[in-house]
């Protein structure tokens, strides 16, 4: 009677790691697209025009209010049922599980991150914006040169949380046939009937990636905020 098959773990970790490239592709692509989307959503949300802000709030509510797994399934299984989707220019992307995963993860992250950014923007001292206004800076100049750099520092901790969260969500891509680390792990489990060892191995790898992300952001935060510890 043994608790754990160490040899199996040692054998499978290299195999699982073959999926790390795909995991990273999912993470970085959807982080980039999601962050870009978040900036657009933020600008719409704080535009002060209800017909821009209201749809944005609905969008954010839907994507934050439903499980990302459901969103992935709707995009991967649901959309192809629609004739006009199959005939649209997006079909080459939506036909592929990779494209669907990227789209779902980006749309979801965009909703979360835009709320994080909004928190940062709202956290910027009103007096600083007034000082910019009094100096004659336009609304856009104030946003670019004063609000944004300060807001970015303010929301970095929350943003790093979301990067970790997104990294973990990439595992859901395995449910639509993608062979990321989780996908490979599930394949090995199907061959070996050893879910304990295999999932434990994949867990350890995810933990290490999380650690790297947290350390990286910790370092960035420290570098960016060394001069704004004490505001009068």
């Amino acid at each position: 009677m043994r608790f754990i098959d160490v040899a199996l773990i040692i054998d499978s970790i290299p195999r699982i790691l073959m999926g790390i490239g795909l995991t990273f592709q999912l993470l970085f692509l959807s982080l980039t697209l999601g962050t870009a989307l978040a900036i657009i959503l933020l600008l719409l949300r704080i535009s002060g025009r209800w017909y821009l802000a209201a749809p944005t709030m609905v969008y954010i509510y839907i994507f934050r209010g439903t499980p990302i797994l459901v969103q992935i399934f709707i995009i991967y299984y649901g959309l192809p049922q629609l004739e006009f989707i199959r005939e649209s220019i997006f079909w080459p992307i939506l036909r592929e599980p990779f494209g669907c995963a990227i789209i779902a993860l980006s749309l979801n992250t965009g909703a979360y991150v835009s709320e994080i950014f909004r928190g940062g923007v709202l956290g910027v001292d009103r007096g600083l914006k007034e000082a910019g206004a009094a100096l004659g800076l336009s609304v856009t100049q104030r946003f670019i040169y004063i609000t944004s750099p300060i807001a970015i520092r303010l929301c970095l901790p929350a943003y790093s949380n979301d990067v970790v969260s997104l990294m973990k969500s990439t595992a859901l891509a395995s449910t639509i046939t993608l062979l990321d680390m989780m996908g490979i792990a599930r394949t090995i489990v199907a061959e070996t009937y050893a879910p304990y060892e295999i999932f434990l191995s994949v867990m350890v790898i995810y933990l290490i990636i999380t650690w790297v992300i947290q350390r990286t952001f910790g370092w960035i935060e420290k570098r960016m905020s060394q001069h704004i510890r004490s505001e009068a």
């Binding site: 007096g127 000082a131 100096l135 004659g136 800076l137 336009s138 040169y145 520092r153 009068a232």
Partner: protein, 250 residues
């Protein structure tokens, strides 16, 4: 427009300002000539800050007319920009940009708004840092400076735009006592050089020595406006007398 609009760089006519149902300014009229130094005092909540914040449109007046340097303040963004380019402001809480070094705080508006070149802006910035006597702090961040130094930087930052008028909103109220005089000294220098200034302050010594006119406000109204000798030695209204007795008692 009238002839008086020519010599008066700031003209307020029957200005009202409401915050919801609260009336912060009641029928305020005030003319400021080029080179004049006005000190505005009064109890807290009397509308002094609101008054000067209306002059550069940080607050929008509800009714009446405000003309600054020939531009009437309406919702027209063009006029607001024109006014803000000519009017510098110093705040109680300094409001230096915490993410920029001192020199970059000073260079930001001239490069963005006046389209000055980097080197021009830097030269101007250093000139004014020397004027407020802290050129050696140029590459530090605001958080590394004392309150008095920060406020002097804030004054230099406003001066870099080469304004025609300077507004001071309780510039020494957030300072430790030992730092007040270094800021008042800079302001006194500025007044001597002929800068048009409107200063909201409780520093009555400054008012007495620098002001051409002292304005006393209470409940959103201008109660009394007189040259300092007259104002301090022979106050006309009961409310002014009461205020002066409270503020000069200690």
């Amino acid at each position: 427009m009238s002839d008086s609009g020519h010599t008066n760089i700031i003209e307020l006519e029957n200005v009202d300002k409401f915050f919801g149902v609260f009336q912060a300014l009641k029928n305020v009229s005030l003319s400021v000539k080029t080179g004049e130094r006005i000190v505005v005092c009064g109890p807290s909540g009397s509308g002094k800050s609101t008054l000067i914040r209306c002059i550069n449109r940080l607050e929008e007046h509800s009714s009446g007319k405000i003309v600054v340097n020939g531009h009437e303040l309406t919702s027209a963004v063009k006029n607001i920009d024109a006014v803000r380019r000519e009017v510098g402001m110093v705040f109680q809480s300094f409001n230096l940009f915490p993410h920029l070094t001192i020199i970059k705080n000073l260079m930001l508006a001239p490069t963005l708004v006046r389209k000055a070149s980097k080197s021009e802006a830097r030269d101007t910035a250093m000139k004014y840092l020397e004027r407020v006597k802290i050129p050696e702090q140029a590459d530090k961040y605001p958080s590394q400076l004392s309150g008095g130094q920060q406020q002097r930087v804030a004054i230099a930052r406003a001066l870099c735009m080469n304004p025609k008028v300077m507004l001071f909103d309780e510039p020494t109220s957030a300072l430790d006592p030992e730092m007040i005089s270094e800021v008042l000294d800079v302001m006194t220098d500025l007044a001597r050089d002929g800068m048009t200034m409107i200063v909201v302050t409780h520093e009555m010594g400054f008012a007495r020595s620098v002001a051409d006119k002292v304005v006393f406000m209470d409940y959103g109204e201008i109660v009394e406006m007189n040259p300092p000798e007259e104002f301090f030695d022979n106050p006309q209204h009961e409310r002014t007398k009461l205020f002066l007795s409270q503020i000069l008692a200690h």
